[in-house]
Structures are given as C-alpha cells and as structure tokens.
C-alpha cells in the first residue's frame, strides 16, 4: 500500500515540470494583472509619450519633441507650483515625523488611557478629506474661528489670517496635513518601537546611561528601518499633496498654495492641454523617482 502511494507521489511530482509551474503562477496573477496592467501600467507608459506631444481632447496627439519642456522653463506658474511644493515638503516631513515619533514614544509608556489616545490619534487619517477641509476652514476663520479666539485669549493682538492670507495659507495647509497624518505614522513608529528588545535598555541603564543617551544610542538606531520607510512615504506623500489643498484653499489666495499636482490638474482637466499636463507629470514622476532612489542608496550605504 505504502509503496503504491509512494509511486503515485513520484509520478505526480514528475508531472509538474517547470512550464506547469509557470502556467499556474500566471493563472494566479492574471485576474489582477489584467486590471492593473490596463489601468495603471499602460497609463504610466503612455505618459512618457504624451509628454512629447501637443494635444487637447478634440484633436490628435501631434509629436512636438521637447517643446513642452522648453515651454515649462519659461512658465512662471510652474516654478511657483514647484517652489510651493518644496516649501510644503520641507516643513511637512520634519513636523509630521517629530509629532509622530513624540506621540509614539509617549504611548509606548505605561500610562492610563494610551489605548484611547491611539484610537483618537488615528481618527483624522480615516476621516474623509472633504469634511476635514470644511471644518478646518471654519476653525481657521480669521474673525469667527475658534483658533483665533484661542490665540486672542492667549494674548495675540493680531492673529494670522490663515487660509485667506497669502503668507499664512501654506502654514495652515501644513498644520492640517500634519494633524491628519501624524496618527498613521505614529502607529508605524509604535510598531517599530515594540520590536526593540528591553534588555538593551536594561543593560544601558546598568552602564549608567541617562534617558537622552538611551534614546540617542538605542532607540534611534534601532528605529532606522522604520524611520527610512516613514521618510520615503512622507516624501512621496508630500510631493503629491493635492486634494487637501484643492478643498482648503484651492491654490490661493493668488497662487500662494498652488502645488504641482494641482497645476497638472488645472492644465489637464480645466484647460484640456493634455500634452503639457503630461510633461509636468513627467517632472513630478521624475522627482519622486529620483528621491526614492537616492533614499534607498543612502539607506543601503548606512546599513553596511
């Protein structure tokens, strides 16, 4: 009996050559790949063709070489959008990381109510952006908003104009996006903190290390993979910031909060300049790609 089964088994194994594995593998992937290929991969590839064409929705795509890119070099609005995106990124990343790490360190302690706070901090992240932008607009209202009411109570004679002031609109956007995203990154940091073995801290304590030294020499190095992931995610997230700005300030006042994504949207969907919008998209694409590659390279070198 046993030998017959063993024989069968052997034959079945022989019946599964490489090409069958390939067939099985593709059959698993195909249902998803069809949708993913048509609706994501093809557009990504087409982008690089459209960027070199002059095209609106009614005509045909006409090859114009690098015309779109030379036009971009003389386009002030494009550079304003680029500058604003960099401004947003430069403040949003450190603020969100600082807040998220600070909260994670706090929640990693034994305090009553941390479970409740973890829920609270994550809540903004899963709330729809339309509702959020609307309520923050009320909160930021220079005259009637509770934020300026608080600031006045604290003694600020001339609180900022927030979303209606060209100088304060970007800080307002950054406050909202930090508020919205810190809970998400806090969770990631918290998961990273949980993987650090307690013995490390105990040993450091025996050696007489203070809490700052423990943080510098144990917590930060152990969190490196987590920090790396957070920085990459935050960078990509910052460069593509769009819906929040669209709903909160609509790029204004003036062009004070116009960002790259919104500029693509304006050129592509409001002015139907698909070719030029694609060219700007290529720039956005290239920036995100380059930064990710650099971050991976730096991370690899530091790890070795």
């Amino acid at each position: 009996m046993a030998t017959i089964q063993a024989g069968r088994r052997r034959r079945r194994r022989r019946l599964r050559p490489a090409w069958r594995n390939t067939l099985t593998g593709w059959s698993f992937i195909l249902p998803n790949l069809l949708g993913f290929g048509v609706f994501t991969l093809v557009p990504v590839l087409a982008l690089f063709y459209y960027a070199f064409t002059d095209w609106n929705i009614f005509g045909v795509a006409e090859w114009v070489g690098v015309d779109n890119f030379t036009r971009m070099l003389g386009d002030d609005s494009f550079f304003t959008a680029l500058r604003n995106t960099l401004y947003y990124t430069a403040l949003h990343i450190p603020l969100t990381m600082g807040a998220a790490l600070g909260l994670a360190l706090l929640l990693n302690r034994k305090l009553r109510g941390v479970a409740f706070f973890r829920t609270v901090a994550f809540f903004p992240y899963i709330t729809s952006i339309v509702a959020i932008a609307q309520v923050w607009n009320l909160l930021f209202s220079p005259q009637y908003g509770p934020i300026n009411a608080l600031l006045r109570a604290l003694g600020a004679a001339n609180p900022p104009g927030w979303t209606v002031s060209a100088d304060w609109s970007m800080p307002a956007v950054i406050i909202v996006s930090t508020w919205r995203e810190m809970g998400y990154y806090m969770l990631i940091f918290l998961a990273g903190l949980q993987t650090i073995p307690n013995q490390l801290y105990e040993a450091a304590r025996i050696d007489g290390a203070g809490s700052w030294q423990r943080f510098r020499n144990i917590t930060l190095p152990s969190l490196r993979p987590t920090t790396f992931f957070v920085v990459v995610m935050l960078t990509i997230g910052s460069f593509k910031v769009f819906d929040l700005i669209l709903l909160l300030t609509d790029g204004g006042p003036g062009q004070s909060t116009l960002v790259l994504s919104q500029y693509i949207y304006q050129k592509g969907f409001e002015e139907n300049q698909f070719g030029y919008a694609s060219a700007v998209s290529v720039v956005l694409f290239a920036i995100c790609f380059a930064i990710t590659v650099v971050q991976f390279a730096v991370n690899k070198r530091r790890a070795s």
């Binding site: 998803n32 993913f36 991969l41 557009p43 982008l47 479970a115 901090a121 809540f123 990631i188 801290y201």
Partner: protein
C-alpha cells in the same frame, strides 16, 4: 502562530495598561504627570475639529460664526439632520458610494489575494520582475499618471460611469503587496506537505492560505473599503452627472451650492464621516495590524 511579527503585543487596542512588571520601571511622578498632561493636550488638539463639526451641525446657522465663539450649541437644533435629506441627494450619493465600496473591496480582496499567492508561493520565470512593476507603481504618485489614465478611460467609454471608479480602485498594488507580506509569514512546510498529499496550488490557496490569512484579509477589506468611501479625486475627475455622484463629490458640490449654510454643511460632513467612524471603531485592531504589516516590512 501565523504572524507574531504582525501583532506586536502592545498594539492590541483595548488591552489597557499592563500591570507594573519588572520590564520597565515606573517613571517619576512628575514625569508621569507631564506625560498625562501632554496626552490630554494632544487628544484635545486632535479632537477639536471633530468636536467643532458636531457642535456646528447642532446649531442654528446664524450661531455658527459668532463673536465671541459659542462653544456649545444653544439652543440645540436637530432640524439640520432632517433638512439635509430634503435639500440634497444624500440617498443617491450614499447608495452609489456603498455600491462602489462593496464592489471594489470584493474585487480587490479576491484578485489581490489570488495574485499575492502566485507571487509568494509559486516559482516561475519573470515573477520578480513583475512584482517589481507592482511595487514600483506604489512609489509613483497617482497624480503623475492621472492624465493618461483619464484619456484611456475616456477612450474605453468608462468616463462618467461608476465603472471608471471600479477600474481605478479595484486593482491597486496595495492589496497584492499586503497579502504577499502576510503569506510569506506562513511556513512553507504547510504548503509543501499539502503538495505531497496531492493538493493542487488552487486547493492550497483555498483551503490553507485563505483560512490562515483571515486577519490579513480583514485588514485589506477594511483599508480598501475606507479608501474607496473617502476617495474624492477619482470621482472629481471621472464623474460628472448628478446621478453617479459619490458622497464625497456630492458633499463638495453641496458645499459650493449652499456655501453660506455652515450648519447644514457640517451636518452633511458628520453624516459622511459617521459610517467610517463606526467601521473603524468596530475593526480598529485590523486597521492597526494592516498598517503595521504593510509599514514595518515595506
């Protein structure tokens, strides 16, 4: 057993603070006090917008913007919650959004977990390259290819139909990525033993992997549902006609239409947030694990 890495002990929400053990020392009372103070201030700051949303929705419109600020509704006006249904197409929006969220989630969970099995457990040439293409698009912002995608959808006559949103959301690389991470924590010996017993790969997927990855599937289901429910940009670009509007798009058109009716706008906002809040509170453990999975090992 299936994933101790995915469930760091303290991430179980609701467990409450563990009794004092020898692991970590109790901090000095002053530090504890400062810790609590920071927690309370941070919680208040995080909750203020939600508080303001609910409070404003219960006010008469003339009481929303006042000097000095009116922190509590007086009188409490419930009428807004009746008026909103009359003044807006809330029912259509909610219906469309529910339909989309359910369809997209079903497609994403099925095709995503199916493909993830191929990537995680079956060896064949070209597999790693293909997976790289999936991962690569996770690092590319959607905003950078929304224009060619829109052109394609228009050519396929999908624009201005709910199908556009399904096509856009259902085959997201996130599902494949998340489920692959999960499958890789399941020991290879299990599937090897099943192969010995003559089970096909499809059988292994259905009878072994699916049941063992239930927590991963739950995370993916919740994340996809919430993402689809909250999506604003997709509907903004693809949906024009009033009868295909989703709740997010509907709410934003409502806002521009009744732009001075703040109390009513806040009522609509509360209603658009409420279903997600409930889902989150019921399934928050899975959210947390899903994020820890896709985050930690990303």
């Amino acid at each position: 057993m299936t994933g101790t890495l995915l469930q760091p002990p303290a991430l179980h929400i609701g467990a409450g603070p563990a009794p004092t053990s020898g692991n970590r020392r109790r901090a000095h009372p002053v530090w504890r006090f400062l810790g609590y103070l920071t927690l309370v201030v941070a919680a208040a700051a995080v909750l203020l917008p939600f508080f303001w949303m609910v409070v404003s929705s219960l006010k008469a419109n003339s009481d929303v913007n006042t000097v000095p600020v009116q922190w509590l509704p007086d009188p409490v006006v419930w009428q807004n919650y009746l008026d909103i249904w009359r003044k807006s197409d809330m029912t259509t929006w909610l219906g469309n959004t529910l339909l989309l969220s359910v369809t997209v989630t079903a497609l994403q969970v099925f095709t995503g977990s199916f493909a993830a099995y191929g990537f995680a457990k079956v060896r064949f040439p070209g597999r790693n390259l293909l997976f790289l293409a999936y991962i690569g698009t996770l690092a590319v912002p959607w905003q950078s290819y929304m224009v060619p995608q829109f052109i394609l959808m228009s050519k396929l006559q999908l624009s201005d139909t709910l199908w556009a949103i399904i096509a856009l959301q259902a085959f997201n690389a996130l599902g494949v990525f998340l489920m692959k991470q999960y499958y890789e924590t399941i020991p290879e010996e299990l599937s090897e033993a099943a192969r010995m017993d003559g089970m096909t790969e499809y059988g292994i997927y259905r009878r072994i992997m699916l049941p063992l990855s239930a927590p991963g599937l739950a995370s993916l289901t919740l994340l996809t549902f919430v993402n689809t429910w909250n999506d604003y940009l997709g509907p903004l670009i693809y949906l024009r006609s009033p009868d295909v509007r989703t709740i997010q798009l509907g709410l934003s058109t409502f806002i521009s239409q009744y732009n001075a009716d703040y109390a009513l706008i806040m009522t609509g906002s509360v209603l658009s947030v409420l279903p997600i809040a409930l889902i989150f509170l019921l399934g928050q453990r899975h959210f947390v694990e899903g994020i820890a999975t896709s985050g930690l090992k990303g």
